[in-house]
């Protein structure tokens, strides 16, 4: 469900209203200037698909698309997203209608614990949007900012290759 969400400012807290577009829907949320985009996504918008792995931009678990580009949302202040478009993993396909990448990740067994998976899918989606037929090296480069401790990456790369085939 993607409703417009409005949060009323508590009287004793100095907050600013942030307006942005999240997964295609306009959103207004009161934020503290110290909050990161990651915190707002997870704890104000309750879109918990995006994960916090390290909080300092070293793992990619928090990857979202900001105006179409993959970024670590832990390194974006919420207020820096004012007026911009954000796409999270919840905006990539639906339960009834998975994104081709999600289909191929399942088919190839590219998910184990699943913690890196939202960030991986977002980075892969950004790659295929820009370069529909990437080489293996281009795939590796595209996910080089996403760490996975479970799979050893091979199946992730194969899944992205599969999703990139014509007709997918």
């Amino acid at each position: 469900m993607r409703a417009v969400r409005k949060v009323v400012m508590a009287e004793d807290q100095v907050k600013t209203v942030l307006k942005m577009i999240v997964n295609g829907d306009p959103v207004e949320v009161a934020v503290d200037p110290t909050w990161t985009l990651l915190r707002v996504i997870r704890e104000e918008l309750i879109l918990t698909g995006t994960k916090e792995g390290c909080g300092i931009g070293d793992c990619g678990a928090c990857t979202v698309l900001l105006d179409g580009k993959p970024v670590n949302s832990c390194l974006v202040l919420a207020l820096q997203a004012e007026g911009k478009e954000v796409r999270t993993i919840e905006g990539l396909g639906t339960e009834e209608n998975l994104d081709p990448l999600q289909e191929s990740f399942i088919e190839y067994g590219a998910v184990q614990c699943g913690f890196c998976t939202p960030g991986m899918l977002i980075s892969a989606r950004a790659l295929l949007d820009k370069n529909p037929h990437p080489t293996t090296e281009e795939i590796k480069l595209a996910i080089s900012g996403n760490l996975c401790r479970c799979t050893g990456y091979v199946k992730i790369i194969q899944a992205i290759q599969k999703a990139a085939q014509p007709g997918q």
Partner: protein, 286 residues
């Protein structure tokens, strides 16, 4: 995290007015890839944060007949993807592609990399080798400052608190000039540089070195051209004997600046050998 006042102007005059008014209590934020972790750790407690990413005048990459202007808020991916940068300064594009990972390259800016003045900065050595100049702006006016004079010491810019970098200006290189950036790090991505080599070379048709610029990175508090090595090799044909000599000299020059540190046993021979490897690549490149 301690709170702060946050301001994100669209116009440069508004930003400069704010910087002047806040008199040193203000930190500039662009990509935030260095600043946000520092804020989280509590290393810094600014009263104000000025976001300069929305200022069009501080961005963009453009050229004139003789120079290239790179906006302070150009990201590493802007540099890596730019046909103009790849053509005019290949080593700058190579460096940009080696920093962090795709996500941080979409946010981290060249201006921020300069202003952080970290010893392990990758942007500073490359820009030093290109004799870059900073365009600094404040409410008091604009001025140019050679990058070689812009970093007082590690982590410490030499410009005033009410000034901000708006652009980096680099003169185009003469035809026939080759460039290379090499990064030595523990991983292929998401890795801080252990050591970098920035090299610019031009030889005449007889193979004599006409121009050599060499900046080692991550081996000194502040990156600078190793002019002693440049002088050793300039005006000469780079024979094997001369290169052997330069390998020793490079290590010795580094130690003259840094003194003996715990890392010297490793860095002294490696820096010299890497210098030779990269120089040889530039000499034999097609």
């Amino acid at each position: 995290m301690q709170s702060y006042e946050y301001y994100a102007p669209r116009s440069l005059p508004d930003a400069l007015e704010y910087l002047a008014a806040k008199a040193g209590d203000c930190r500039i934020i662009a990509g935030g890839t260095d600043l946000i972790p520092a804020l989280r750790k509590g290393d810094i407690h600014p009263a104000c944060l000025l976001n300069i990413l929305e200022i069009a005048a501080a961005g963009g990459i453009s050229e004139t007949e003789e120079t290239v202007r790179i906006g302070a808020t150009a990201t590493f991916n802007d540099l890596a993807d730019s046909g103009l940068i790849r053509k005019e300064f290949p080593l700058l594009a190579e460096m940009a592609l080696s920093v962090g990972g795709p996500q941080t390259r979409n946010r981290g800016t060249i201006g921020g990399n300069i202003a952080s003045a970290a010893p392990a900065s990758d942007g500073l050595p490359v820009l030093m080798s290109l004799d870059a100049e900073l365009e600094l702006s404040s409410r008091r006016g604009n001025r140019s400052l050679p990058l070689a004079e812009a970093i007082a010491k590690a982590w410490t810019p030499a410009w005033a608190a009410d000034e901000m970098i708006t652009a980096i200006k680099i003169n185009k290189l003469p035809p026939g000039t080759r460039t290379k950036f090499y990064k030595l790090a523990r991983r292929k991505a998401l890795a801080r540089s252990r050591m970098t080599i920035s090299l610019i070379l031009r030889r005449n048709p007889e193979g004599v070195i006409e121009d050599l610029r060499f900046v080692p990175g991550s081996v000194m508090p502040v990156a600078r051209r190793m002019r002693e090595i440049e002088k050793l090799l300039s005006g000469k044909v780079p024979t094997d004997e001369l290169l052997d000599q330069s390998v020793r000299a490079v290590g010795e020059e580094m130690v003259k600046v840094t003194g003996i540190r715990w890392s010297t046993r490793y860095k002294k021979p490696v820096l010299g050998n890497l210098f030779r490897i990269v120089l040889r690549q530039l000499i034999t490149a097609g």
